[in-house]
């Protein structure tokens, strides 16, 4: 059973091959094949799940790269962690594949889309199933490639091309980090397989472990949209919504969390790298949440929410043995509710002529009841409504953050996590209110292509996956924590989940604090956005006008204490995000391109100038060689 685990990868790989090589002949049934392969993998994954006891079983397919001392085998590791991911990828993946049949039905290239989608699933499975870091790297590059191709799907939009470019550059930065970490492992441990690296990590110099830890973190930041490499993820929403749901919410962007959880023996050996992970996680979760408050684009808000939620996961896996399983649990529940939210957003867009600006929505709950209900469940799960999925997973992380040994860390990171929960509640409530409640602002408007808006419920092929995901969003958390069964299941891979015993805040008090803060966020959002009209066009002085308006409504205190500074802060962060990080990336690209353009003039086409450059080169070469002699 386990020995033939390569079948998991083989199904979608075969699907991708047939769909991409088959050309137009497969147009008629390509989407069905695309779904069938992922479903087959899912079925096989379920069977494996029940057959396995969660202990690592490595299957070597064959010896891939024997470079003298370096033996890299292409092998698969079936253990608790990889199986959980297999189920998430193929399970949620199947649902989103099915959804995409409906969502992409108007696209003439739907078959190719499914080909890329299958390619992505293949690469993602290789990423989580590999039994060494090079196999992981193989999947890592593969998902990056598929993501690049899918972000640029709507190629006629210049923004899509730019977004794809940005995603590519930032991911390459991360990839360089990962590659260097792998090289360091090989140099100092002499192997890249999980078993040997984890066994040998104890004998390595602590500085090297720290370097490996930080480089892996750099790789994780690139893939998972963490600070300072977060800016590509919101832009990646230029791709079709199923892509956003599967790749940029549920699976690929969580690969960084997987990487750190997988490399837990390395991080256990280097507390400083762990601290770096925690800092990055805490900072990003706040950053994402604050910026999420500022956008009117429904997918951008969800994207920053993803950035923020992955920040929670990073925070959790950075905490060490008290957090690994919690991070993975949040990853799984997030996979459910965030995929559901994106599919819901896609459903709204589908009904609204692909409009993404929330200011043009409003009152949609009546025209799209199923979407509203499923989206609402996802919303509740995300803000951590009691007993929803997010309630169990996020609260556990916040409690663990408060339970660190050093007091300052507990306060800083626990505080950041609580604050993040409040902000999450705020921006998500804002999103709900602007989209589904309030006045029907779209009745007066036309979409960009000049059509009227006729919101309608999506076909069953789209709503059924949303319903299933909604069930997951509602119940997954309770299911996972029941008897601590997820943590117990993951123990062979991640070590037993240590209970947080002490803490600056009593363990039992955490849920109340979190729910309280979240409720405050919801209330605030309702006060600002729920009780008054939302301007369809953003005015230049929008913030001030809005502030003035709410003064009239008598919310002066709220405005002064929370809203205005909040608005300013989020505006400022958006600015920094766009100008700072983006500016850096764009500047780098411009610098390279510009210097390329300028330097091109050196290539004059004249033999004598070529000969001169050779002479200069020879002079420098010989000069350097002789320098020591003449000195």
């Amino acid at each position: 059973m386990i020995a033939s685990s390569w079948l998991l990868v083989a199904f979608p790989a075969l699907g991708a091959l047939i769909l991409l090589a088959g050309g137009r002949r497969t147009d008629a049934w390509g989407h069905l094949l695309g779904c069938a392969t992922v479903l087959a993998s899912f079925a096989y994954g379920v069977a494996l799940f029940f057959a396995s006891d969660g202990k690592p079983t490595d299957t070597t397919l064959y010896s891939w790269m024997p470079v003298a001392d370096l033996q890299v085998d292409l092998g698969l590791r079936i253990d608790a962690l990889s199986l959980v991911f297999v189920l998430l990828i193929t399970g949620v993946g199947s649902l989103i594949h099915i959804y995409a049949i409906g969502y992409m039905s108007d696209d003439t290239d739907r078959r190719r889309f499914f080909g890329y989608f299958n390619l992505f699933v293949t690469a993602m499975l290789i990423l989580v199933l590999g039994d060494n870091f090079v196999s992981l790297y193989l999947g890592w590059e593969g998902v990056g490639l598929a993501s690049y191709l899918l972000i640029g799907w709507y190629q006629w939009k210049p923004s899509a091309a730019t977004a794809a470019k940005k995603a590519f550059i930032m991911n390459r930065v991360g990839d360089v980090g990962l590659a260097l970490a792998i090289f360091l492992m090989w140099k100092h441990i002499g192997s890249v397989s999980y078993t040997e690296v984890f066994a040998g990590i104890g004998d390595v110099d602590s500085g090297v472990i720290l370097a490996i830890g930080l480089l892996l973190l750099l790789g994780a930041c690139g893939k998972s949209g963490q600070f300072p490499l977060q800016a590509w993820l919101p832009d990646a929403m230029e791709g079709p919504t199923p892509v956003s749901a599967l790749i940029h919410a549920a699976t690929m962007v969580t690969a960084g969390v997987y990487l750190i959880a997988r490399a837990n023996p390395i991080y256990n050996a280097t507390p400083n790298a762990q601290l770096a992970v925690v800092i990055i996680g805490a900072f990003t979760l706040l950053l994402g949440a604050i910026i999420g408050c500022a956008y009117d684009d429904i997918k951008k808000v969800l994207a920053y929410s993803t950035v923020s939620q992955i920040g929670y996961m990073m925070l959790a896996v950075g905490l060490g043995p008290i957090g690994y399983a919690l991070g993975i649990m949040h990853l799984l529940t997030h996979g459910f509710f965030k995929a559901g939210l994106f599919l819901g957003a896609g459903s709204v867009m589908h009904g609204m002529n692909d409009e993404v600006d929330m200011r043009k929505f409003g009152g949609l709950w009546r025209t799209m009841p199923i979407t509203f209900v499923t989206f609402g469940i996802g919303y509740l799960a995300l803000i951590g409504f009691p007993f929803s999925a997010g309630y169990f997973s996020k609260d556990a992380i916040i409690a663990a953050a408060f339970a660190q040994e050093e007091t300052w860390r507990a306060w800083v990171f626990g505080g950041a996590a609580v604050l993040g929960a409040g902000l999450t509640a705020f921006y998500m409530t804002r999103l709900m209110l602007m989209t589904f409640f309030g006045k029907r602002r779209w009745t007066e408007l036309k979409s960009e292509d000049g059509r009227d808006f006729h919101p309608h419920e999506s076909p069953p092929v789209m709503t059924i996956p949303m319903m299933i995901l909604a069930i997951g969003s509602a119940g997954a958390g309770a299911f996972f924590v029941f008897n601590g069964q997820l943590a117990e299941w993951l123990a062979p891979s991640l070590g037993a989940l240590q209970e947080a015993e002490h803490g600056v805040v009593p363990h039992s008090a955490v849920p109340f604090i979190v729910v309280g803060i979240s409720a405050l966020g919801v209330l605030l959002a309702w006060l600002i956005f729920g009780r008054r009209e939302i301007a369809v066009e953003r005015q230049p002085v929008g913030a001030v006008v809005r502030a003035a308006r709410s003064d009239l409504y008598g919310n002066a205190l709220n405005e002064a204490v929370f809203a205005r500074p909040g608005t300013w802060l989020s505006r400022a962060l958006v600015y920094v995000d766009n100008k700072g990080v983006d500016g850096f990336v764009n500047g780098l690209a411009a610098l390279l391109g510009g210097s390329s353009g300028r330097l091109r003039r050196l290539q004059t086409g004249f033999v004598r100038s070529y000969a001169l450059s050779m002479l200069v080169g020879s002079f420098l070469l010989v000069g350097l060689l002789l320098m020591v002699r003449f000195a």
Binding site: V67, L145, F168, M614
Partner: protein
Amino acid sequence: MPQQFLAQGEQLQVPAIDFAAVLPILIVFGAASIGVLLEAFLPKHQRWSSQIALSLTGIVGAGIALAAYISDAPEGGITTFMAQGATTGAIAVDTPALFLWGTLLALGLASLLMIGDRSLEPGGAFISQAGLQSGGLQTREQANVTGMQTEIFPLTLFALGGMMTFVAANDLLTMFIALEVLSLPLYLMAGLARRRRLLSQEAAVKYFLLGAFASAFFLYGVALLYGYAGSVKLAEIAAATAGSSASDTLLYAGIGLVVVGLLFKGSVGPFHTWTPDVYQGAPTPVTGFMAACTKVAAFGGMLRVLTVAFEPASWEWEVPLWLIAVISMAIGAIFGLTQRDLKRMIAYSSIAHAGFLVVGAMTLTEDGLSSTLFYLLAYGFTTIAVFGVISLVRDANGEATDLSSWAGLAKRSPLVAGVFTFLLLALAGIPLTSGFIGKFAVFSAALADGNAALVVIALVASAVAAFFYLRVVVLMYFSEPAAEGPAVTVPGAFTTAAITLGTAATLVLGIVPAFALNWASAGGFVP
């Protein structure tokens, strides 16, 4: 006096020659010479077919001879053409040499198939009479004349033989003559394009002038090294370096100049300037041949010289070569970003790859050697297939190498676009292609040798370079084809075979590279 001179009754002893070992080289040169005779005696209409048959037979025969020799080659390698009383011979036949011979023969076969192709352009990619003044009426007429300058076949074989000698040469004099034997045909072949005659001739002249310039550097370096060591044999130079108290300025100046000559052939920056112009101007099959085989030969020779002769002095040349590797990678990656012509872009890509290869070549460990050898093999196959695909996309003026005309190619010909995408990914070093394995092996060997900073720079350079490959991919898949864009020609059997060979090798070496890596690491240079 004359009596004394003539009275020398002493017999010269012929050096010991292991014919079985050098048989592959002899077969290639033999086939080339027969090709020249065919050119002289056969009527025009029979030449193409008989030359093709002869050349293919020659290369395959050399391959068989090579395989036969490898099957029971002595452990650790031998040197042959050893004069009586000498310690080493002129030709070293060891694992790297055999590996490189195999590589060169396989790549030569693929190149020859492309050179011989007549399906893409009536009469082939070569002009039928090179002697005509370009731009004239006759040149325009003969662009439509079927038939080509069939001397190209023996010239290719001579170049191939020169390359095989170059990587096996055990003394600098043999190496220099081999360098000339491999270069001279290439200078000529670059100027034989059927279309765009001026560009082609300009390329040939540039390559010739700069090549002569570089050869002069090499030769001067050999002279200085002879002055230092009293010998041009690699082993004796190493011995002199290790145990001489003489002032070593001659040695270092000599190393520098010899290395300049080698770097030029490998198109390593800042000695790369000819590369874009020549790659662009030369007929595409010749460009493929140059890009793949010349690079293999240049770096094969460099590996041998650096390891066998200059290893004791490695402390001194490491820093300059380090800088040169960085310069080359930077030039390749940065200049490549703004290229608009596909052939020029691949030229800059080859400069960046040359930088990566220098990283491997200056790593004088076993891993460094085997990984660099593998990289050469992988890169050669990918490059040949790349140029094969480039030759397929044509419009009324011949090949359409401008990037803009490749827009939306996937809509016209998904297969060609798919193959080209795969090859570009291999050049970028994405896993499951041979490019990834090569880069991984080279970089990990360099890192293990303590060159961490260089590896970081190399990774960054390959990240930047990957960007322009993917730009082409996106252009092919996500752009609307131009209204009067080029058409994809259906290639004949020869070009199809060459592209298939290159692509299949890229795939196989990416998925199951073990056999090649094992072979490459089976042994080192014979001392």
